[in-house]
């Protein structure tokens, strides 16, 4: 993985965190979003970044969300956009 890609993933996580600031539980919403839309490999890159750089460049909300995901805690879906249980028969 290049430093450029890592920096981009950090940027993306921070950007999502900024936009979920007004969710009732921003860190849980971010964790949910990353789990729903990011590949495992992308998440692993951020876990590695977090392990090496600690609390450096990541937004506190992003740090919390990644820590939850790294610990294997799958958060309950925070938004219906990422909740398969609510994407039933006519959800097309």
């Amino acid at each position: 993985m290049s430093g450029k890609t890592e920096a981009k993933l950090v940027y993306m996580a921070n950007q999502i965190a900024r936009n979920l600031k007004f969710e009732p539980h921003p860190a849980a919403a971010l964790a949910d979003h990353l789990r729903a839309f990011w590949t495992t490999a992308m998440l692993r890159q951020l876990f590695a970044h977090l392990a090496v750089h600690g609390d450096g460049e990541l937004d506190p909300v992003a740090r919390t969300a990644l820590a939850e995901l790294a610990a294997g805690h799958a958060p309950p879906p925070q938004t219906r956009a990422t909740d398969p249980a609510h994407q039933g028969a006519d959800a097309g």
Binding site: T5, A36, T39, A41, Q87, G88, D90, A91
Partner: protein
């Protein structure tokens, strides 16, 4: 079907709850009140002679050929302007009428060339038909007096001629331009015998006039005065096939009129439910690319991209591709492979590509070009309403009282719907336009926006927050609707947020650049003006807050109760013909068809049982992530069907680097596009004229695409994908796309009731089509939101990180124009380039003067990502500080300038905001020269003297 003209009832259909019964020539007929006698006669199976009447135009009453006699009524009224009444007794064939009609017809023919046998309209001419119908045998008037038989022909338009000698001045063309297209380019100049049809002012010809070449006038003309050049050159069509246009997301239905295997013309089909018989210059005329000499018809391969292409057999090409992909999977794993589904191909073809990726490649690394256009629509509307699609059909606009257009330019991007919208505006609907540019909708003949909010690019969310602030703080919320239909707690949270002073129009004015009083006026109008409908386009989605903007729009619609009935709604205007369908078909890396997440075990189990393979429960890579992974050496093989990511995706240099880093890029396309410069395998594609399938338009309308000629490359695209799958060891045996649709229906609840037999019988179906909605769903969320309660989402304005500064002080925004389409691969290979031969940079006079730039000057357009050169046009359509260009021409490559900033939720690129500097230039940039040299090198074909042009 064979060739016959579409039925013409003479005057438009009338809707009424009251039925009227009358008698025509002794036969009883019942029609809605308000129907004309002419239409009633046609409904009854009869035919009254006519020339100036046609059923997509209001009755005019000028030709005097449709006279009838009515018991109890004096004289011989014109049937086209006489409404039916209960018990009326009409006579359409009497000796008196025959004499009158012959007299009228004799006058017409006395000033008309008698060259029927050599006329391009011979046997397809209403004048000829009517002369026969009235029994005209002799013309008593000679040609010695004044006549129009020496009038010149205007051949300036590349697609049709105006032969004034054949014109009978019936005004159908003028009325079509006024009523159907809404451009009002044509007029009748002069009076009496001197009357003649004129495009604009006298000095104009059709090409130099304001005519937009929609073809409505040609379609309306009852003679050969306005005639397609192709008919003159090829001859009268012999058969017609109804099919769906492959340009924008309006999804117009056309009759492809053929002579043998040759397409003669595309004529809009009056029964088409999206276009209602109208067309634009692209769908009507710009189909020549399908037979263009640049098409590559034989497969090609090469070991590496620095080598020339080698034409090979299909077997060799597919074997080469399969062995490379197998080798990549063996060495780097399945997740080193991926595919891109085209939004231009059919639903069935898209479904097969994502199936190939998931079942064949063994990964969810599949994406579609919706990533770079409407992915935020999917996210935003799914989150708020529960459905990743627009809420209305196009007919709905006829009942709108207030139309709010944000980030869309429908008269250019979706012209047929733009015309329907303008028709409603001419009837009195109010208009709000939120756009940095003064688009044509803001002010054009008979249309003027009540409010134009010329916001600074990148501030959509701030403007929408300000609108919401006014609606909430001034007590304009439809509380009954919100309490019944939406989550009340979430609404209160949102209402408290937007009510904060920092979201007021006054506070945000310095941010958005929009006067607070305009915002307040627009908010009041939208909230209180009756049925409010929002239409939006890529000016909403292609931002770092694209998804937030979509949700902010949904919030406004819910707060005002403008959801769930005709005339209202949230309506994304989809860019490409099948963007909606590609998304529906499971082309995103995180979901299967019908927008069901891959992590859902029950959904996966359905597909696993049908396909006999395990499906990865983890989401795959999006296009930009694929390219990042490629530059990191982790992603090695990509199958791209019908998309030119090198030209259409942002930050061209990064795209090129990603493609160049792969071991095998398969491009499946009509042409050697820009992406093919980095490809190892080229699989020839088939045009929409050469395949069967379906497209789904912006209304969720699934429409048949029908093969009108054999594929020039030998195979339809779904067959090519199937052969690639078989080369990779998959046992696929589809023999017709209807079988693929049956599989889609089995696996996708919203398509459960869709099949080809129904589509043939009903013309189209709007999903969801299932037990809950057996006839489809023209309007969504009628009795409740699909997700249950509508969800208000707080959308805080977060400024883009793309900022202007001393080095890059201007903001670039991009878009498309009427005559060209996206990367131009199709339209550049047609005569449409007459109107737009190159991309131009629009710059405000103040910014131009500060830089010493005049219209026509070459300028250097530079950003942090790269630079290019193009010519400038100085105009106050753009505000000071904002510049604008299109991305239709690879020589310009506007996307070398755009950045890799993207929407926070979906990674849809931020095409609409790039900080740039403009300076005078005297020629192409170094990058452009290098790119041109690389492209020349990459397009070489071994053994071919010719280099195919892109």
């Amino acid at each position: 079907m064979g060739y016959e003209r579409q039925a013409d009832f003479g005057t438009p259909e009338v809707r009424s709850d009251t039925q009227v019964t009358l008698e025509i020539d002794g036969r009883a007929v019942t029609v809605p009140a308000g129907t004309t006698v002419m239409r009633a006669a046609a409904v009854a199976g009869g035919s009254i002679p006519k020339l100036c009447a046609t059923d997509n135009l209001k009755q005019f009453g000028s030709c005097r050929l449709c006279l009838v006699e009515i018991d109890g009524m004096r004289g011989t009224p014109a049937s086209c302007t006489t409404p039916v009444t209960e018990g009326m007794k009409v006579h359409t064939q009497t000796e008196k009428l025959a004499r009158l009609r012959r007299g009228v017809m004799e006058l017409y023919i006395s000033d008309h060339p008698l060259d029927c046998l050599t006329c391009s309209a011979n046997n397809d001419c209403e004048l000829q038909d009517q002369a026969a119908a009235v029994g005209l045998r002799d013309v008593r008037y000679g040609y010695e007096g004044a006549h129009h038989l020496a009038a010149p022909t205007d051949a300036s338009n590349p697609y049709f001629d105006f032969d004034a000698t054949k014109c009978i001045v019936c005004s159908r063309c003028v009325r079509a331009c006024d009523e159907v297209q809404g451009t009002l380019a044509l007029t009748v100049e002069g009076r009496g015998f001197g009357s003649q049809i004129s495009a604009g002012v006298k000095s104009d010809d059709f090409l130099s006039s304001e005519c937009v070449s929609c073809g409505a006038c040609v379609q309306a003309c009852p003679t050969s005065a306005l005639m397609e050049k192709a008919v003159t050159e090829i001859g009268k069509p012999e058969r017609a096939v109804v099919t769906t246009c492959a340009y924008c997301g309006v999804g117009c239905t056309f009759r492809a009129e053929m002579r043998g295997e040759q397409l003669v013309r595309m004529v809009p089909w009056k029964d088409g439910k999206a276009n209602r018989g109208h067309s634009c210059v692209k769908g009507r005329f710009a189909w020549g690319y399908a037979q263009h000499q640049d098409r590559i018809l034989k497969p090609m391969v090469r070991e590496s991209i620095d080598q020339p292409w080698r034409a090979v057999s299909w077997e060799e090409a597919l074997g080469f591709a399969a062995s490379r992909f197998k080798a990549i999977a063996a060495t780097h794993g399945n997740n080193a492979l991926g595919g891109i589904v085209s939004s231009r191909c059919t639903n069935e073809e898209g479904f097969l590509v994502q199936k190939l990726v998931r079942a064949g490649f063994g990964t969810n690394n599949v994406d579609t070009c919706a990533r770079v256009c409407h992915s935020p629509t999917g996210y935003g509307l799914k989150t708020t309403f529960g459905t990743s699609a627009g809420t209305q059909d196009f007919d709905s606009v006829e009942e709108s009282d207030v139309i709010l257009v944000i980030g869309a330019n429908p008269t250019d991007g979706h012209p047929v719907f733009g015309s329907r919208m303008k028709k409603r505006l001419r009837q009195g609907a109010k208009l709000i336009v939120i756009d940095p540019r003064r688009t044509d909708l803001v002010r054009s003949p008979h249309v003027e926006a009540d409010y134009h909010l010329p916001l600074r690019p990148g501030t959509n969310v701030a403007v929408l927050s300000a609108l919401a602030h006014v609606i909430v703080t001034e007590g304009l919320v439809n509380e009954a609707f919100v309490r019944e239909r939406c989550d009340w707690d979430e609404f209160q949270h949102w209402a408290e947020f937007v009510s904060q002073e920092r979201n007021s129009p006054e506070f945000l004015e310095p941010v958005t650049g929009v006067r607070a009083d305009l915002v307040r006026g627009a908010a009041r109008l939208y909230a209180t003006g009756g049925n409010g409908a929002i239409y939006y386009g890529l000016g909403v989605t292609e931002h770092s807050q694209g998804s937030s903007t979509v949700m902010a729009i949904a919030n406004l619609a819910m707060a005002t109760g403008n959801i769930g009935r005709r005339g209202v709604g949230v309506n994304p205007l989809r860019g490409q013909n099948n963007v909606q369908g590609a998304c529906d078909m499971g082309s995103f890396p995180h979901e299967l068809s019908g927008y069901r997440h891959v992590s859902d075990a029950a959904t996966r189990a359905l597909f696993e049982a049908e396909w006999g393979v395990k499906i990865d429960p983890e989401p795959g890579l999006r296009i930009p992530n694929m390219l990042d992974a490629a530059t990191d050496g982790l992603f090695k093989g990509l199958y791209i069907q019908g998309e030119d990511i090198l030209q259409s995706d942002p930050d061209t240099k990064h795209v090129a680097a990603g493609l160049a880093a792969m071991d095998c890029v398969i491009v499946h396309d009509l042409f050697l596009n820009e992406t093919a410069n980095y490809a190892h395998v080229f699989l020839p594609g088939s045009s929409f004229l050469e395949k069967d399938g379906t497209f789904t338009n912006a209304e969720r309308r699934i429409q048949p695409v029908r093969k009108v000629m054999e594929p020039l490359n030998g195979y339809q695209d779904w067959e090519v994908t199937q052969e690639l799958a078989r080369a990779l060891g998959l046992d696929w045996n589809y023999t017709h796309p209807s079988q693929i649709m049956d599989e889609i229906a089995r696996l996708t609840p919203s398509f459960a009731g869709v099949n080809y037999a129904r589509l043939d019988a009903e013309g189209s179906l709007q999903w969801p089509v299932n037990d809950a909605a057996p006839d489809g769903s023209p309007i969504m969320h009628v009795d409740g939101f699909v997700r249950g309660k509508g969800k208000f989402v707080v959308t805080d304005y977060v400024p883009t990180d793309e900022r202007t500064g001393p080095r890059f002080p201007l903001l670039l925004t991009t878009g498309r124009i009427l005559s060209q389409y996206n990367v131009g691969a199709q339209t550049r290979r047609t005569e449409n380039s007459v109107w737009h031969a190159e991309d131009l940079l629009e710059i405000h006079p103040t910014d131009a003067e500060n830089r010493g730039i005049k219209s026509g000057d070459w300028v250097r357009l530079a950003s942090r990502s790269g630079e290019t050169t193009l010519r400038a046009t100085v105009t106050d359509r753009v505000a000071p500080g904002v510049v604008y260009t299109t991305f239709h021409h690879p020589a310009t490559q506007a996307n070398v300038v755009t950045t890799d900033y993207s929407d926070w939720a979906t990674n849809c690129p931020e095409y609409k905001v790039t900080a740039v500097q403009i300076t005078p230039s005297n020629g192409p940039s170094e990058w452009q020269e290098d790119y041109a040299a690389q492209a020349r090198q990459a397009r070489r074909i071994a053994g071919s003297a010719m280099e195919p042009a892109e």
